[in-house]
Amino acid sequence: MKRPGLISVLCVLGYISIVISFPQVFSPQVKKLGVFMPALSGLLVAANFMAYVGIWYMKRWGAELFLSSYFLKTILDLLLAQMGLMFYSGQIFSIFFIIVLLRHYRRFDLNL
């Protein structure tokens, strides 16, 4: 399945955001929130990364994993009241990405 150019660009931006957000997983701020908080937020980053890989290969599970990890991450951020500039820019990027994914949803492959 040929990948649309816009999805390629967004995936590359997503990979870059993973590299940036990875060290934040175990930042002193997250560590202060609780013992298992870095592990939990790390799991979400890993899920997000897998989702980008899945979307890159035009797999439907990638799009679904992206949606799930986005909602979980948003709930977590709202619960922890982590609403800074990173939160809003992440929201704008994710919502735009979700719209693009939904537009091309039928083109995604159902297999693993």
């Binding site: 993973i18 590299v19 990875f22 060290p23 997983v25 175990f26 930042s27 002193p28 560590k31 013992v35 298992f36 870095p38 592990a39 790390g42 799991l43 980053v45 890993a46 990364f49 897998m50 890989v53 290969y57 297999n111 693993l112």
Partner: protein, 413 residues
């Protein structure tokens, strides 16, 4: 079923790691160093923070320090504004005691370093503190032998002294110090008490190395007007009174004692422990962030190393993957197998990093007598980062392996 899949994947992963020992060791080194760096910094920061907070707690949260210099952190300390301020005087303590309604206890202290002597034993530069009678109400300490000063002794300036454990050990290695006469900067004093061992303090206020004498005796040894004596009046708030309320009252009293005009700048500082806490918070935050950045990038580099080695591993086992798939292995099994391998590799690397950190903490404990503890929270953090980096760095190679066509995979060299 899932357990069997997991067991088989772990077994495959283990065989692969064991058959390529050198390669596995080199690739997990990155993770080992990364985890070691980040967890060591977090461990040191946590331990230092714990020690300092403990020391601050012992100083008392409801105590205000009336001093010449305000406590402040940072480079732009305007010392020229404070240099000409007068030092707190003993008569001010009496005045505050008469007028204050919010304080439970007030004490005066001045200190300096002097030589102590007993027969042929001598301790140079020992901390000598002249204190008022209520000092024990401000700073809690226990006596291992003897007694505290009486009010009469402090007010009349009797030549008596209460010494710390280390001072007692230094001056009286084989004798009971109680009742013995020592010399403090040439002045005779009888030892009436020994303070119970307190241990090292991060803030350098341990009583173990101090000699406490009545203030009116200390006048002969230390100059209360000297800046070096660092005179301080301690004010402890009553149980229902907040520090802010007490500070308000003390400000008014001190302005009145020092006859300051309504618009004049105060010529005294009212310092609180919370000021120190805030300073240390900022300091530890900077250290934590520095360690996090250094460790974070080490781990990231380690992750790239693992991803690289996993791509090599997939390439080497391409025939086996083909055979497995032709025998009915699902894509998810191949994916899981390689993910397990990368996670296991990373977990072993992280485990070594944690072991290394543990040995460093033991070394620090024995070499510096410093309490550095590798906490459970940091162990969980280290292990979860390891698994996480293993999953992230191994996912792309594992997914590539799972997508291989069995026929092409078997035929490839």
């Amino acid at each position: 079923m899932l357990w069997l899949l997991f067991k088989e994947s772990i077994l495959f992963a283990w065989q692969s790691l064991v058959s390529n020992k050198l390669r596995s060791t080199l690739s997990l080194l990155g993770i080992t160093i990364g985890i070691f760096a980040i967890i060591l910094v977090f461990t040191i920061v946590d331990s230092l923070e714990g020690n300092i907070r403990g020391s601050l707690q012992s100083l008392g949260n409801n105590v205000v320090y009336i001093q010449k210099w305000p406590w402040s952190f940072g480079a732009d300390y305007p010392w020229w504004k404070y240099i000409n301020r007068p030092t707190p005087q003993y008569f001010e303590l009496d005045e505050i005691a008469k007028r204050s309604k919010s304080t439970e206890a007030l004490a005066y202290r001045l200190g300096g370093r002097r030589t102590l002597k007993y027969k042929s034993n001598a301790i140079e530069n020992a901390v000598v503190a002249g204190v008022s009678y209520d000092f024990y109400k401000i700073k809690s300490f226990d006596l291992s032998a003897g007694r505290y000063f009486t009010r009469n002794e402090t007010e009349a300036g009797y030549h008596v002294a209460i010494i710390g454990t280390e001072i007692a050990k230094g001056l009286f290695p084989n004798e009971d110090p109680i009742g013995k006469e020592i010399k403090i900067a040439g002045q005779k004093a009888v030892v009436i008490g020994v303070i119970k061992k307190e241990g090292e303090s991060m803030l350098g206020v341990s009583f173990d190395y101090q000699v406490n004498i009545p203030f009116n005796f200390a006048r002969y040894i230390l100059d209360p007007r000297s800046m070096n004596a660092d005179p301080v009046i301690y004010a402890k708030a009553k149980p229902q009174v907040s520090n802010a309320e007490m500070i308000d009252e003390l400000t008014g009293i001190l302005r009145s004692i020092r006859k300051l005009k309504p618009l004049a700048e105060p010529n005294f500082a009212l310092n609180e422990i919370s000021l120190l806490s805030q300073g240390f918070d900022a300091l530890f935050s900077v250290i934590g962030i520095a360690g996090w950045i250094i460790g974070g990038f080490s781990i990231l580099v380690g992750g790239f190393g693992i991803a690289n080695i996993m791509f090599v591993s997939v390439r080497e086992r391409i025939n086996i993957i083909g055979i497995q798939k032709s025998l009915g292995a699902r894509n998810s099994f191949i994916l899981f197998q390689f993910l397990c391998e990368s996670s296991l590799l990373s977990l072993i690397g992280g485990g070594f990093g944690l072991i290394l950190t543990y040995f460093i903490t033991l070394l620090a404990k024995s070499a510096m007598e410093m309490e550095i503890v590798l906490s459970g929270a940091n162990i969980i953090l280290g292990l979860s980062i390891s698994v996480l980096i293993g999953i992230i760095s191994g996912f792309v190679p594992a997914y590539t392996a799972s997508q291989l066509d069995p026929v092409e995979a078997i035929r490839s060299n």
